[in-house]
Symmetry: C2
Subunit: 307 residues, 2 copies
């Protein structure tokens, strides 16, 4: 194991040292601030305290089902103050990548979306044409006519040049069949993120990875992923917020996304919280995917223990 992480809960000197090291905190949401609709204790007060000390807080989420504007509503509903510019989601990251880096030439620049409204809304803000997504015409059982039309191409849109896959609560055989055919015909393969599971109601449900891996398995190649731990996302965050990586800390619950993201991005620090997916045993394991620099039982421990 790498250097073991420093445990901050209840250690006021260590907490104050930690806080002083950073100007910016990139904060994962699900599993750190809340689980489902349950806000963790002390979160709001801790965020306000960090801001009162002049720290910048940026919410970095792989959840692609909500656009930044929708995510802000979720923050507000839970009583977390914030601004849309403080939110950086994988859908936004994907939209930015498509419009500013991929730049597919028209007319073959349409995106076939596997995912929810969050992806569609971010694509709209970047004026990217798309099909699929929440369209009711794709939320149904596959028919013999579909099999025929998908197979011979008559039901496919010749202008699709990219498949973007994210968490889709309405995933079905018809959508997977379309996405696979577009990929077979050469469409660029993108994913908002690859999280295998999605935290919800204090448990776990299928994540974006569950939508992406059938395609990866069929087509035999990996997508470009635009969420954590992809460094494409960190580059975009750095560009937008002009942050100093050495004075930036990533806070998250997942070793294979959040903590890996911070370490590979050479951030000044990483802080794990134990309110989400990973536990202490996970970074103590010999084959640990990443080891955080610090950890607390829960985010609220930063404020509670600092005084």
């Amino acid at each position: 194991m790498a250097q073991p992480p420093k445990y901050l809960t209840g250690d006021s000197a260590a907490i104050n040292d930690f806080i002083d090291k950073f100007d910016v905190f990139l904060i994962d949401c699900d599993g750190v601030l809340w689980s489902g609709d349950h806000l963790f204790e002390g979160v709001v007060e801790t965020l306000e305290w960090l801001r009162s000390k002049g720290k910048r807080t940026v919410f970095v989420t792989n959840n692609s089902t909500k656009s930044r504007a929708e995510y802000l509503q979720k923050l507000k509903k839970l009583g977390i103050p914030g601004d849309v510019e403080e939110i950086f989601g994988s859908s936004y990251s994907a939209a930015i990548y498509i419009s500013r880096i991929l730049k597919l030439p028209a007319p073959k620049n349409k995106v076939f979306v596997l995912g929810e409204a969050g992806i569609e809304n971010e694509l709209r803000t970047e004026n990217i044409p798309f099909i699929g997504g929440t369209d009711r015409n794709f939320r149904r059982e596959i028919t013999p006519d579909d099999f025929q039309g998908i197979a011979d191409g008559s039901l496919l849109d010749p202008d699709v040049g990219c498949v973007l896959a994210g968490l889709d609560f309405h995933i079905n055989y018809l959508k997977l069949s379309h996405a696979y055919q577009y990929l077979r015909r050469g469409a660029v393969f993108l994913a908002t993120n690859l999280d295998s599971t999605f935290p919800m109601n204090h448990n776990f449900f299928p994540g974006a990875g569950s939508v992406v891996v059938p395609l990866t398995n069929m087509i035999g190649k990996q997508p470009v992923a635009l969420g954590k731990p992809s460094q494409a996302m960190l580059d975009a965050i750095e560009g937008k917020f002009q942050l100093d990586r050495g004075r930036t800390c990533m806070i998250g619950d997942r070793l294979n996304t959040d903590i890996k993201f911070g370490i590979e991005g050479k951030l000044g620090g990483t802080l794990a919280v134990l309110t989400g997916v990973n536990k202490k045993e996970d970074w103590e394991a010999e084959d640990a995917v990443a080891v955080p620099g610090y950890y607390v039982d829960k985010l609220g421990d930063l404020l509670a223990g600092a005084q």
Copy 2:
């Protein structure tokens, strides 16, 4: 590359040598006999010719959507003579495995099925209790109550001890969520087969693997697979037909299922046909997953070229 395969099309001496080497032909169906509802030329005559020479023909299929009885209907509809005892499918293989090898003690012996009626029918013939499958209650969108009840376990059946995943044209988020929770709670993880794609209408669609891999990815472990190339299937076939492996030949279109199945099972020979998934380039590639002993352009070439 291993020894290159012998090309039999049009070579009557080579075909007759080949036929004389074997008593039993294990024959894959999709991509060998037909594609979708299209029967390939010369198939019926070739099967009749093999039988007239005293050869046993066994149809070995990874297609789990049909039971053996339903598969026989498909054969008959296409004009292929056969008997239910000549058919060996991955659903049947899975049912046999559950009832005769796994033998889960009651009451925790229910199977949660991701798949179509073929799986259910084979489970019924072995008196295996199951839920899920084609039940309309699972063919719908997930609701907030589902999230809650799946997360807290109140909507889960405590008697489920096994998850069996196969090709499901009605795959959805609700079913994947249930299957994942049962696996998290320790259910045995089985798959009828792992084919990434499914041949249909002269093209390819998502296969059983597309239903299985999200679960594999979430739970972090592989299922026991009961279809080709799993040797569990060949053991079952050998037990049922009392065949001499050295005098048995596997005929198929897929290197990673059919041909691998025959080679790993130490059968006397393997014959590839070019009417399905794989092409000549695939076994000529340096990283070829398996190289057949023989190949023909299509199955009908055996009879056409023999005379």
